[in-house]
Symmetry: C2
Subunit: 597 residues, 2 copies
């Protein structure tokens, strides 16, 4: 189990090394047998180098060396030594493409069975197979590159926050189950039977306590956990860059963020990002783009038509207008050509986001083609044309609903049209950075018939809105902000409530009784008694950040050992059954024991 | 909720700032009211600065400012502005001690109730109170300093491994329950009812798979979890610096470690550490110091007496010698003065480590004073004197047991004598770095009547010992090594088995059937089929490392929100009960539901 150790890695030899005796360690990426000559590509994390076995070499050992070369197969691990020489036909696609090594000594360090799929960029393996044999999939250069970007991301993050006087502090993973937000993962306690720890959805409370504790500036790259039904871009565990600062205002946090993003883009992509980023209010983002994380790389803005059509005879519009709802339109330029199938798909999409229906108007040959055309007077039609800027051949999509839903539906249609019309392909190379600010503090939950915190219960309202706690909570704005890149929410944060009286008003607005608030957040409220400083922070989604930098839309490309959308690990078959004895020790049992296989 | 933001922190103003108008934000550390003058110390993470309220100032606002000053109490959060001036009587203990600020504007940002204990270095609060009000305890300067050291530790770690070409990669927290070692914390799966994730005791398997995946060099600062009954220096969750490398040998890993330690000591303590560190074989460490993590800052070595006394008539010695056991002694210099109570305590300690008894010999006035003296011939006595170097007034502690237990008992007695004789106080300022190498591969478990892996089941045996798998597994040595500082195990690692045939021999030696091995580690064995490189690594206990650097013996001093020895968080009362509905969602129930409060 001893072997000849490498003198170089597989990515660093150049023509300046010609004549040197070197050793490489790595994997056989390919082997071409030309009879008296064999060409083998050796691969490691750093690159690929060609080595040559030549039967015509007349050294004493060469017959053995050549015989060893004959045995090599794909993915064998080898140590190959020899002299670097110029390659006859260079390969300019490869950094090491101008040289090769004439092998005079070769050891097989480990053999390999034929892999279940070819380890190459154009592998035809299914995603399932790739996840099951993740350790093989990870050998692919394009995947390794993403982890090299992720590594750079960590280093820049460590440096940047260190330079800005932040302290890296770890918060507990085994913490208290908090009731707000998504479902907690629970961990049964063996010593305190019947009690449970929860895994953090975020270290929110702890980072606020660190501010109360006087640490001034805190940063942590931290795993967070949410037991949600997974969508394509979520994982049950994800990483977050968690930041909190004392004695600051919103602008200071946004400036810190801009500097961070600027540094990341410069050092990883060599792109100069212009700062400051555009600040766009939540209300404006909704009105213009139908999203609180708008992709503003392209325009295609929404326009409100409530005033223009509220008097029309179309009942849907009438009712919505009467109930203070919103009627708005998206002009899909040139899309009047869409077939019935296309427009049905758009209606379906609208329904997925809560629409009861979608009014579709084709503007062709100076006329409205639409079931609703007959309800719209000539005056209304020309008002609509003017407002939407519709021209011959355009398609108008009109939604009518409460304000937020109406705009959200059109926002989704806007993205769909952009995809269909290949607008996203055109802007793909662009990066679009912005802050969405002035979010509403609360949102009304009709199911629970109460207000919920839009961000979280510790988000501070705008100072000037505090009197609205009693009069009009729905109208309150928060000191909350999101970082949005290319239409993805990459980070979000807020100034926090640091005064106990305001925190109590907030809990009251959320419908917590004093006892509930005490039980759930008592220790935080307690801490606020003893001098909490003004503070605020932000948290960035690390996985999404890296996806953006690495140019991938698949979160599994940037996580070493990801789970499937059903939270399953195909590689190690977890979660898995455990022994009855283990459960007993923990004081729990399964409700339906037959599920235990 | 707006306030005047600081221009400086509370630790940075100097005489060179005299005359500047500045603003500080921070906590009222103390307030001395002299009637027409008030002196207030403002504190933040960076230091303390004195500000002065002077009633005699004749500005228009000053009456208000002075009135505000009157309201200040300990731990109020304030913003104070004014001009820096020279302090009449400087305080040379304080970096800011030569200046003060004459306050011309003061805002109370938050009030504070009287804290439950005084926030000062000489607080009389119990540890329980400190943990309950951790956010207040954390304001103490001596505690904050430890987190500043910990932060430096992180930064140096990030830099060092980055410079050495390591990639920082995150491994899963929700993983498969593995059966070896300590108890896993389990996490019930909601989607896959009846199945469980486990929290990692270490990312061992994943880091090995990263090597199979070709990442070459991996580092991660990672939380690990062990559901053990806690001792004073353990926490259920702890942090580890986890390292793995491919195509290396043991020496390369030890050299990397030396460089890392050297850098830490230089940058944090400004101490030049000599490298290479001493390498001491496990067997030698046991024989000389009775420990696999010897504190070699002082000598007091053990000496074996088996040969010298095996023929004596003392039955205990005879039986042990006959069964190939070991008889050895510790010479406690000058301790013949110990009382019966003292020696009883030593016997008790020996018993705690498994001794059936302890033979105690006082060497006084040229004579052995001991119940066993009568069994020892003059010849034996002089042999013992020669071997142990005992002189008049010394105390000999003699243990007889199997080799490892005999030496372990004496090793513990050695530490106890060092404590009693204040030898540890003398060497306290010294740092003693060493590697213990050549550990046994296996250890026999009499309870289970089988061998267990001493390190873990993937530890590679010495190449020359592989034939012993069949003949004498107990004699096999591992390519395993520990970093020991001042008698604390700070890190441990090994070269790994990378060939499938040897891994199978290892599992066989551990008594796993093929099916068991397949079920437990199938995916790792599978990975070894496809070309695993030679690899190895090490993991360092971050909390202990920082304890050593920060000079504390209490692990809770270096963890922001620690748990008690019964795994309880006094601050947030976790673990806690959860709702019946939450358990139902997870498909579990409590075995004794009345425990649910």
């Amino acid at each position: 189990m001893t072997f000849t150790k490498r003198t170089h890695n597989c990515g660093e030899l150049r023509t300046s090394d010609i004549g040197k005796r070197v050793t490489l360690n790595g994997w056989v990426a390919s082997r071409r047998d030309m009879g008296a000559m064999m060409f083998v590509d050796i691969r490691d994390r750093y690159g690929i180098t060609q080595v040559v076995f030549d039967a015509s070499e007349k050294t004493t050992q060469n017959a053995d060396v050549f015989a060893t070369g004959r045995k090599l197969r794909s993915e064998f691990v080898i140590s190959a030594s020899g002299v670097v020489r110029k390659r006859e036909k260079g390969n300019s696609n490869l950094a090491t493409g101008q040289i090769e090594i004439l092998v005079s000594h070769c050891e097989i360090l480990n053999e390999a069975e034929t892999p279940p799929f070819e380890i190459s960029e154009d592998t035809t393996a299914s995603e399932e197979q790739c996840l099951k044999y993740r350790y093989l999939d990870l050998r692919r250069h394009s995947l390794q590159e993403k982890f090299i970007i992720r590594n750079k991301f960590y280093q820049i993050t460590h440096q940047y926050f260190h330079e800005h006087n932040f302290l890296e502090i770890e918060t507990p993973v085994l913490m208290k189950s908090t009731p707000e937000g998504a479902r907690d993962f629970l961990v049964p306690s063996r010593i305190h039977k019947g009690k449970f720890y929860a895994l953090p959805q975020s270290p929110q409370i702890y980072k606020q306590l660190l501010m109360v504790g006087g640490f001034d500036r805190y940063v942590q790259i931290v795993k967070c956990f949410r037991d949600e039904d997974l969508r394509a871009d979520r994982q049950p565990e994800f990483s977050q860059i968690d930041v909190e600062m004392s004695f600051i205002d919103q602008d200071e946090i946004l400036r810190l963020t801009e500097g961070y993003v600027k540094r990341l883009w410069k050092e990883i992509l060599n792109i100069e990002v212009e700062t400051p980023f555009r600040r766009i209010q939540f209300t404006e983002a909704m009105q213009r783009y139908g999203s609180d994380k708008p992709d503003t790389r392209f325009a295609m803005e929404l326009c409100e038509l409530t005033e223009e059509v509220k008097e029309c005879e179309f009942n849907v519009f009438k009712v919505v207008a009467h109930n203070n709802g919103t009627i708005a339109a998206l002009n899909a330029k040139g899309c009047a050509r869409y077939s019935r199938k296309d427009t049905d798909a758009l209606t379906e999409l609208a329904k997925r986001y809560g629409a009861k229906g979608l009014s579709i108007v084709k503007y062709v040959d100076g006329k409205f083609e639409s079931p609703i055309a007959k309800y719209l007077s000539t005056y209304m039609q020309s008002a609509i044309l003017q407002k939407t800027g519709a021209e011959n051949g355009d398609l108008l999509l009109i939604a009518a609903d409460d304000w937020e839903r109406c705009l959200t539906i059109l926002g989704q249609l806007r993205l769909e049209i952009a995809r269909r019309e290949k607008i996203l392909d055109v802007v793909k190379e662009k990066f679009d950075f912005l802050f969405v600010v002035d979010f509403p503090l609360l949102e009304f939950s009709p199911e629970e018939n109460r207000f919920a915190a839009r961000h979280h219960p510790f988000t501070s309202p705008k100072a000037e809105d505090i009197p609205l706690f009693e009069k009009n909570p729905a109208a309150m704005r928060a000191n909350a902000y999101d970082l949005v890149i290319n239409g993805m929410e990459i980070g979000g944060g807020s100034l926090r409530i640091y005064r106990r009286d305001i925190q109590e008003k907030m809990f009251k607005a959320l419908g917590f009784t004093k006892e509930e608030a005490e039980q759930k957040f008592g220790f935080l409220l307690g801490a606020f008694r003893y001098g909490a400083p003004p503070h605020g922070g932000i948290a960035f989604g690390l996985d999404r950040f890296v996806m953006t930098l690495a140019g991938t839309e698949n979160i599994r490309d940037v996580i070493a050992f990801p789970k499937t959308t059903s939270m399953y690990s195909l590689m190690d078959d977890s979660p898995s059954t455990v022994s009855e004895a283990q459960l007993q020790t923990l004081g729990i049992k399964l409700t339906t024991p037959d599920q235990q296989e």
